[in-house]
Symmetry: C2
Subunit: 375 residues, 2 copies
């Protein structure tokens, strides 16, 4: 089975869930808290994973992860972690379960509250350590199984991104079989999340050529296989490729992300809209690609190559067409975002960590225009 | 300064040598053995690096690294390491100094002899540990500053590759300023070594898409900048790009290498020829590209894109033309390799670790033909 040995030891293949038990042993974790959500449980994936564990290891399970991980739910899970004397966290699910589980591991060792660790406020120095984390993604996806950060909606309503190398999970178990049953719309949304990660990471101006290379390879795979994964979810190779694109996108975004994410996070924190992060990224991506086009002309050449597009092709149009082809809506308005909401979204976008990675930093006025265009 | 955080913490920029002292401190190394060669000393680079160290730290220096690192020289350096009570190794030089220093670090902790660690003979289990290693490359290059292996000519004449994750240096300090004075022919030869690493790693059939991505980015940079680096060695950007291509090639070859390297190693072990590893790779690469063309047609599409070649371009011809443009000879005969030597070279190629990574494994007859074609 391919093992990708970077900062996370990643077991990557169909059937990889069998590596969970040996890895728990290798990390010295005997009582993990298993963090998941009710959808994963309902899909039978929890039972499949629990069946791989040694007789007698009956890990406590927190299945209350909401659609977007909240501080409140994190603290609930942390209470269970402490009550059960846990010594590590296993996350089984999408980005929400993984980010929630990673946050529990952070709080368990470094203490509360989460806001203390805000990297934009010097929070890195407060991170003493993180309990061992093993992630099993069930979407393709956020790539949180190898990523440097977590995104949590705090009790005060802010969507906080905590990025720190200590949050990189020790082990990722990437088993595309866990995604065979992922419905088409979720496949489309999470797939575009992976593609957006690859694109935004590549465009981020920080210097990290290996990450650039990983981003382009992830984009190459994701772009070529997302339609098939949506239309033929049972296609094992398509699922493998999408999961790899997802993992690569997250490996790459050590460089930072950009305006698509800052804008998505600002919308995503609103509980009234319950908008999916991947869908938001997909819908906003064309607008931001147009915004960055002049400044990133050289990099767009390599993006087109990775995507197999012609030399002069319009990237934004290509993404918009792909969104339509895979059944995603064509604008934020379809998700319930209104013109009236825009002034309230803009300050959250400006304050988001991803804003600081974007190649061209939008002003408040420009963010407002971008939201208009993305409606 | 860009810091690439993968398994090696890599400080990468002009002036990075200033990071040596803080990194020695961070690793807890107070008495490093400095391993280098007389050419590096003569170029004034040793003094430049020693000047960055704290007052009072006068590290013992082994400058007897030969053109290709030998077991004999390694043991000499090891004796000095032990006599001086060293607790780590700093390598300053090309692949030879780095591989020799990494080998000293291996023997210092895991014991002798080197042959015991042959991965093709179950040697990995004997590796108990490796002393801390910091590498400062002065060529671009072998990429040994981040690589998983060492290549040493044993006393019995065999060129042994020991590949093991524990040999990955903890820290790499990649300062392109150290290469500004590298002469044109050495720039050409080491630059083609880097390019060969990127190509062979990409073609290796093992599954590691992130490594594929890194290989293609390294190839993109190396191919575009090698002519300028050769013709205008004072060009700081060209030197930066070539060093990055070199580092990326070695990050990528965790996947394995191929027939170019197995054939090069077989020639390189011969002390009568004193052939440079990079030059050998450059000269053999066109022949092996032709050999693999049918089996690797899909991958060749991506290689052409990375190299900026037209869709139908002949990769082997492009490499041969580039070799000529940068002043390298056109065949192994120019290095003194004769038809009569071939039968003796073939078994060494077949036994080389790189043989096992090649996409199409040449038989003995095929290796003989490949050597003929490469003359």
């Amino acid at each position: 089975m391919p093992i990708l040995s970077y900062l996370t030891t990643t077991h990557f293949d169909h059937g990889a869930i069998k590596m969970l038990a040996p890895e728990l042993k290798r990390l010295g974790v005997s009582r993990p808290l298993l963090v998941t959500d009710k959808g994963v449980r309902g899909a039978g994936l929890l039972d499949r994973v629990l069946a791989t564990l040694p007789e007698g290891m009956a890990p406590p399970v927190f299945d209350g992860t909401p659609g977007n991980p909240t501080e409140r739910a994190t603290l609930e899970a942390l209470a269970l972690y402490r009550a059960e004397g846990c010594d590590g966290v296993v996350c089984l699910g999408g980005g929400s379960s993984m980010d929630l589980g990673k946050s529990v591991a952070l709080l368990a060792v470094s203490g509360e509250p989460l806001a203390r660790f805000d990297p934009l406020k010097g929070g890195a120095k407060h991170i003493r350590g993180v309990a061992p984390v093993i992630c099993l993604p069930t979407t393709s996806g956020t790539g949180s199984e190898v990523s440097v950060g977590v995104v949590i909606v705090l009790d005060d309503g802010r969507k906080l991104t905590i990025a720190n190398p200590m949050l990189i999970p020790k082990v990722a178990i990437c088993d595309p079989e866990l995604t065979l049953g992922l419905p088409p719309l979720m496949t489309a949304a999470t797939g575009m999340d992976a593609i957006t990660h690859c694109i935004e990471a590549f465009l981020a101006p920080s210097v990290n050529p290996p990450a650039d290379g990983v981003a382009l390879d992830g984009l190459y795979r994701g772009w070529r296989h997302i339609e098939r994964a949506v239309a033929h979810g049972e296609d094992r190779d398509a699922r493998w490729q999408m999961m790899m694109a997802s993992t690569e996108g997250a490996l790459a975004f050590i460089k930072g992300l950009g305006a698509v994410h800052s804008m998505s996070h600002a919308v995503g924190r609103r509980e009234d809209l319950r908008a999916h992060h991947g869908t938001l990224n997909a819908l906003i991506l064309p607008t931001v690609l147009r915004f960055n086009a002049a400044a990133c002309a050289d990099k767009y050449v390599r993006l087109r190559q990775a995507m197999g597009l012609d030399a002069g092709a319009d990237l934004a149009d290509a993404v918009a067409a792909r969104n339509a082809a895979i059944g995603l809506p064509s604008g934020l308005a379809a998700l319930g975002v209104t013109r009236e909401m825009i002034p309230e979204l803009v300050p959250y976008a400006l304050a988001d960590l991803a804003h600081f990675g974007t190649p061209v930093k939008p002003t408040a006025e420009q963010y407002a225009q971008l939201y208009e265009q993305a409606l």
